[in-house]
């Protein structure tokens, strides 16, 4: 196809490196923000430092893959309906199941630990992480399980050259920035989730959860069912983790599906949590996007040979270490006041 080649030569538009960095940063930021949000909600409401969040993310992503592609529920009973609707329903099914698993874990392993030292509870979640991750990885197997989302590899172009529309538009059209539809989806969903959380905390149950976070005993004395709040917090946390896992397993991230390393990728959300401060919900979102941009910028611009491979992957941790040196409680975390 000679036309296309000529067209490509004549084009004045250069794909923007900066634009690609920003788009990638937004995509990463959405992942980290959603994971951090779930983590912080669990921590605030139940005083549990959930090291199993990465495992829950992988589990949630696998459940989505299971419903959407492996057994195709409910898509198999609704032939003819649009693909996106089938997929959305599968995701909702998976999220409900993930919420149930979150509540079950809380009831089985964390309810007996109420009132124990924070550290002991954190180590219990490390144990949960090992169990959930191993079983999930056994289900995932050695293959990559695609999410079956309707967005696929499609992108939307910004600043495209006029008239470059020849044949297959997606292949030939030259744009300065290409935004994958998955990233658009992730950003919209993140905004929706943040708004939902904000509204939730203004509802009656949300106020009860905030009261529980403030003081469990006093909340009980006010007639709040603290146990139910714990279960709810874990359900929300598990759903957020599952959505984070879904984001990790979507197009711009390799390998485009959930595999045995998804749980480890989710570990990178911890720096985002720390950066924002363990107990701050705005901090989780700011920290998530800050870490996402830092990682994206590092992997775009810091490509010196002496840095070796995979430096982008440790940038979150480096940023976390540096920030903690300056602000030991993160950017928005509550400072622990030591009084004698």
């Amino acid at each position: 196809m000679p036309d296309i080649l000529i067209l490509a030569q004549e084009s004045t538009i250069v794909p923007s490196e900066f634009g690609r960095m920003v788009v990638n940063g937004l995509s990463l930021g959405a992942i980290y923000a959603v994971l951090a949000l779930g983590f912080v909600i669990i921590f605030k409401a139940t005083q549990v430092l959930n090291f199993a969040h990465g495992a829950l993310a992988a589990l949630g992503a696998f459940l989505i893959a299971y419903f959407a592609t492996i057994i195709n529920v409910p898509g198999r009973w609704m032939e003819g309906s649009p693909v996106w609707l089938q997929w959305m329903l599968s995701v909702i099914f998976a999220l409900i199941l993930a919420a149930g698993i979150g509540m079950l874990l809380e009831r089985l392993f964390l309810r007996p630990m109420v009132g124990e030292a924070l550290f002991a509870v954190a180590i219990v979640t490390l144990g949960i992480d090992i169990v959930v991750r191993t079983i999930t990885n056994d289900f995932i197997g050695l293959n990559t399980r695609p999410m079956g989302d309707p967005f696929g590899l499609k992108t939307v172009g910004i600043g495209c050259e006029n008239g470059s529309f020849v044949g297959n538009a997606d292949l030939v059209e030259l744009c300065s920035i290409r935004v994958p539809w998955t990233t658009v989806f992730q950003l919209i969903l993140t905004v929706v989730l943040v708004a939902a959380v904000a509204f939730f905390f203004r509802s009656r149950t949300g106020v009860a959860m905030r009261a529980t976070a403030w003081d469990q005993e006093v909340a009980r004395a006010q007639g709040i069912n603290v146990g139910r709040i714990f279960a709810l917090a874990w359900a929300i946390g598990a759903v957020m983790a599952a959505i984070g896992g879904l984001f990790i397993s979507m197009f711009p991230r390799r390998p485009g599906g959930v595999d045995q390393f998804t749980a480890f990728f989710a570990f990178r959300a911890f720096p985002a949590i720390i950066l924002g401060g363990l107990d701050s919900i705005p901090g989780a979102i700011v920290g998530g996007f800050a870490i996402g941009f830092a990682e994206s910028a590092a992997s775009t611009y810091l490509t010196f040979e002496w840095l070796g491979t995979g430096f982008g992957g440790v940038v979150p941790y480096v940023v976390m270490l540096l920030v903690l040196l300056i602000r030991p409680y993160g950017l928005f975390g509550t400072e622990e006041i030591r009084r004698v």
Partner: protein
């Protein structure tokens, strides 16, 4: 003091390293048995014993000796984490990083000078202490960051350390051999300087004092001695001024500071000492295994050590020994158990076989909780089963017995102390 074992007439006897009869007896018997274990061939065929001393004969086999040597190495590393976590009360997920540092210092100093990777060929009496010292220095250098953050944040800082360390190890190819390749580590042989023939060789079979020993048996003795030395040091630390300062910081840091304990200084010391143990343990582990890839020093190893300290019982030396033995020997027991179950299921037609069939898959179409067949299928592999048991043990111990195996022993002891009364 017959009949009054807990009556101390002097401060020295109260603070002695082995301050009760039970401890003296237990340690003595344990050491005696451990020393006898590799000598099985010597006893085989005598006193009517076929494969060696009755009851422990099977442990004289080479693979069991390797396991026991690994236990000794993990005891050293576990003692290090115990000082930090059990005595000083500081959470660290970064233990694996310091072990990696120790291992690579050992590799560089003791490695083959003509090898592919960096190595100076120095003897063990240089590289083993150096491994500990460099790890300790890095631990102290990292200390100010660790001292500034408290409690839960510290867990995350040390978590970051493991991931940053993993990245450095993967990319420092001239030292570590790179991500998938790894490098070889110096053998345990003792030389005076760089001479050809080692003074004492642990990596070849040979005879000591007229007893033929395999290299595994010799290595086991080496690790046993090393572990005992570090156990005495750790036990001694608990009763010194430094050890008491650690415990006061653990119990109430503000109160400790008011009493004049220099919190920052002692936390730095705790990190340094803990890292020293980790460095030595890492160097020994790498040297023992021979060839290690950088991802050996990952988060999972750190969690393994936390499990050792918590399952054994935080703050006690004997707890660390129990925990290490438990954590290292458990996979072997699980493996043997699955092999046995498989045998019963495939050969037998008994009632037992039909029950065990639920747990184990023998054909690719068979259902089972455990699937030892190669390839994918429903059911966990033996390795995965180990992991799950492991995670469950951490959870269950923390929920039901926070003092660990040591706590179980305390309960048994207290029961018999007051027997037949309940208290």
């Amino acid at each position: 003091m017959r009949g009054r074992p807990l009556l101390y007439t002097s401060y020295e006897s109260d603070q002695a390293i082995l301050n009760t009869t039970t401890k003296k007896l237990a340690v003595g018997v344990l050491l005696f048995v451990l020393i006898l274990i590799p000598l099985q061939p010597f006893f085989a065929g005598q006193f009517g014993w076929e494969t060696g001393i009755w009851g422990i004969g099977f442990m004289g086999e080479d693979d069991w000796l390797r396991l026991l040597a690994t236990v000794a190495i993990f005891v050293i590393g576990g003692l290090g984490l115990n000082i930090l976590l059990g005595l000083a009360g500081q959470v660290s997920l970064g233990h694996a990083f310091f072990m990696g540092v120790g291992a690579y210092v050992a590799a560089v100093l003791g490695g083959d000078p003509e090898g592919v990777r960096l190595g100076f060929g120095l003897p063990i009496w240089i590289w083993l202490p150096a491994a500990g010292l460099v790890a300790a220095l890095i631990g102290v250098a990292f200390g100010p960051a660790a001292v500034r953050v408290r409690g839960l944040y510290l867990a995350f800082v040390t978590l970051g350390l493991v991931f940053v360390g993993d990245y450095v190890f993967r990319n420092a190819v001239s030292v570590t051999g790179g991500a998938e390749v790894g490098r070889t580590f110096p053998p345990l042989d003792v030389r005076l300087w760089k001479e050809e023939e080692p003074l004492i060789s642990f990596s070849t079979d040979g005879s000591w004092f007229g007893v033929d020993l395999t290299s595994e048996a010799k290595t086991f003795y080496f690790m046993l001695v090393a572990a005992v030395v570090f156990m005495i040091l750790a036990r001694n630390l608990q009763r010194t001024r430094v050890g008491r300062a650690f415990q006061s910081i653990r119990d109430r840091d503000i109160a400790a500071e008011i009493m004049g304990v220099d919190e920052v200084g002692y936390k730095l010391r705790a990190f340094g000492i803990s890292s020293f143990y980790a460095g030595v343990s890492g160097a020994l582990l790498a040297s023992f295994v021979g060839s290690v890839i950088p991802s050996r020093w990952d988060l999972f190893l750190s969690v393994e050590f936390i499990a050792i300290v918590l399952i054994g019982g935080a703050g006690t030396v004997s707890g660390v020994v129990l925990g290490s033995a438990f954590v290292i020997l458990l996979p072997r027991l699980v493996r043997d158990l699955t092999v046995w179950m498989q045998e019963v299921v495939t050969t037998g037609d008994s009632f037992m076989a039909s029950i065990l069939d639920i747990f184990i898959a023998t054909e690719s179409t068979d259902f089972g909780l455990v699937n030892t067949l190669p390839g994918v299928g429903p059911g966990l592999s033996v390795f995965q089963l180990n992991q799950v048991i492991y995670g469950l043990l951490i959870i269950l111990f923390l929920i039901f017995e926070p003092l660990g195996l040591y706590g179980i022993w305390i309960r048994i002891r207290n029961y018999w102390k007051g027997w037949p009364f309940t208290y």
